[in-house]
Amino acid sequence: MPDIHIRGFAGSINAPNPFWLASAPPTNCGEQIMRAFDAGWGGAVWKTIGEPITNVSSRYSSADWQGLRMMGFNNIELISDRSIEINLREMAEVKKRYPYHAVIASLMVESKREAWHEIVARAEDAGADGLELNFGCPHGMSERGMGSAVGQVPEYAEMITGWVKEKARTPVLVKLTPNITDIRTVARAARRGGADGLSAINTINSITGIDLDTFEPRPNVDGKSSHGGYCGPAVKPIALNMVQQVMADPESALPLSAIGGIETWRDAAEFILLGAGTVQVCTAVMHYGYRIVEDMAEGLVGWMRSKGFASIDDFRGLSLHRVTDWKNLNLNYKIVARIDEKKCIGCDLCHIACWDGAHQCIHLDRASGPVNGHVELHPTPADNEARTRDSITVTPVTRQERAAAFSKPGPYLAPIARIPRVDETECVGCNLCSLVCPVDQCITMVRVDTGLAPETWEERTRGAACVTQPQRS
């Protein structure tokens, strides 16, 4: 059975599994965190502790997509609105009852050395297994010189990390904001400041939408709104990119707790493949509750077993160096789309996608006879559509008519005339058709042998710079 325990993360943090709750409403108080641990979470980063604030109502809004709720989620809630004393007293209680779970104190105080020294000491006295410095909160706190106001200036980040490290006995993680041109600049600063680990990413500045009746942006606070922090499934690709950038950079890389749209074990596995040591979850729990962790743990273990991984470290970072600069990609690698006529249901989305959004090489010519070649040789989508719009259809009212109308249309599921065909001589292998196809494994991208040795742009243009001036793109 694969072991998903975390041992010695960022130096000394242990946990029964890599699934932690991010610093957010699900970790607002001790009562919640204990229920979360009972549900199966391996760790929790306490909702950021600092001088208590006053919140507004409302605080959250979401980006829904095609009827699905909370594809993206946004908040303008600040750090904990409870006193430092209460938070730390509850933290001590949690640690006493759950000694083997990871409890990380997320901290944010004003940018003074003494203030940081004091809060670090108090959190560690309460039993925190580690500290997470909130340099990422993009709304509200940043207007007061905290949160992302620190995280966007490498010098501040380095300085405060240094102050914390002067005092801390437990591992110090710096939480990075994505609201910056290059996330590595702050990651490097944190590392220079002595950080033991990183958490990434914090939320992304956002306005989730505008009410078309009232013209009020969301979330609405008495007719106005403010830049919120965006998270949830929609941000995962951005988070994956930033985690990869940090982990692939020798001056940035540190043990990393990945955050950003993680909802399932699949999401978690992807972040770990890019080098993350643990993952943090918030939006998915706010949507469905703590119970989602059961499948996350089970699913990850099941996948590890099927792949033969005994521990998290067995696969951590395996995909990290498969991300490279474009100039290092093989220009002679060629794939083409192939449509499985046995699976095609005849929606013809690939045809219109290829014509309007790609390279005009998917045609409806299986019945009329395949034609390969450039775009001018083929009827356009409009031609195809006009033909059926001119057709005369009647309701099949008799048994015979119905039998004829619903007889098997040929050897395949869909009538042959509706099964598109890829002109492989024109296909550039862009993937678009396989992405729009609603049927799994119906359109596959198949490698074709170009007979050419692998060659990258870097290799092809090596030496060219001697003869021509480098061009601006």
Partner: protein, 442 residues
Amino acid sequence: MSTLTLPDDPQLRERFSELKRPLTPQAATIEANRCLYCFDAPCTTACPTHIDVPGFIKRIASGNLRGSALRILDANILGGSCSRACPVDVLCEGACVLHRQGRHPIRIAQLQRHAIDSFHASGEELLKAPPASRMVRVACIGAGPASLACAAELCRQGASATILERRALPGGLNTYGVAEYKLRAADSLREIELIRQMGVQFRFGASMDTADDLRALEDEFDFIFLGIGLGAMQRLNIPGEESDGVMNALELIAEYKTGRLRELTGTVVVVGAGNTAIDAANAARRLGAETVYLLYRRGESDISAFNFEYEHAKQEGVQFLWRRQPAAIRRGDHGQLLLDTVQVREVDKKLLPIPDSQFTIACNLVVPAIGQSPIAQLMREACRIEIKDGGIVTDRATGRTSNPRYFAGGDCANGGREVVDAVADGKRSALTMLKIAEAVYA
């Protein structure tokens, strides 16, 4: 004259409550989002009026309900009644590609209804060209779906159209003949009110029974569209058919839909197994008949009714008597109505009575439902129009008959199909007339 003249009858409303409840706005949005938005969609091709189904569904998904309704009405002015009356299993929903993935097809009819109902609720009118911007005058005989579609298309494009109807209310079978739990007469009339607002003229109580009637029309109008439907229901041709206790299926349906028949009791026997027979049998149950038999001379697998109609009738409690024919209708000793029947078997496509299989059903009503007879005799003689097998011969793509001034569509031309087929016929005829007029003008 207003087209909205049918009193509300609470008892009718309760007994014939709609089979399908409308979708809530959120359910409609969720369902709309399931649509794949196929290119050159098979559902659109399968619809005789070629409604842009993915187009109107995506408009529901985005909250553009007015645009959705206009998209539907653009192709099919009776999109509201079609969304209720169409046998979508064998049309758009039957063609949905999701079937091939083992998934439920998109509930196209329900979505279409949602869009059209919202349009009606908004109280908006349809856009139309300025009246008489095209100098074409057309008379449409019969106020059924074919004529309504023809007239609406003409008016929308600025021509003038007048519908002549023998009965007091427009809509033809939409108003008088579709089971009330599928399409309420009031909904049919509401839809026609929209067409009237487009400028279509109506003349009710107008019968076209003689050659002179038609001559007068020819003098007044440029083209005449025949949307006259089929003729009276066919007779059983058995003794006693003229007695009091016999009422054909279309008569029965029209009577209850207009509130003149409100109650049935005892036993009702419907003869025939088409969709109209089923509608009549279900209606008899809902009107209070304790026992309803459906008598059919062939077997279960031979019925012409759609499968979903047959299943529905079973749920309504209709009992089926297979391979049995009516022989005579008579009165018993105490004045009760008796239907003599006989079992038959099929030998070489012929139905032969089985000896000693006579069986008499004591009943309160016999309802013949074995199809309508063609009506076109007058047309052949008075208008010099070619008739074949009782139907008007037309070129389906243009609606033209053998007489260049006459067009025809709907049941009288297609032999008896669905509302949506009649709409498609009427629209094609209108477009042809406009094209001809355009050419003449040019």
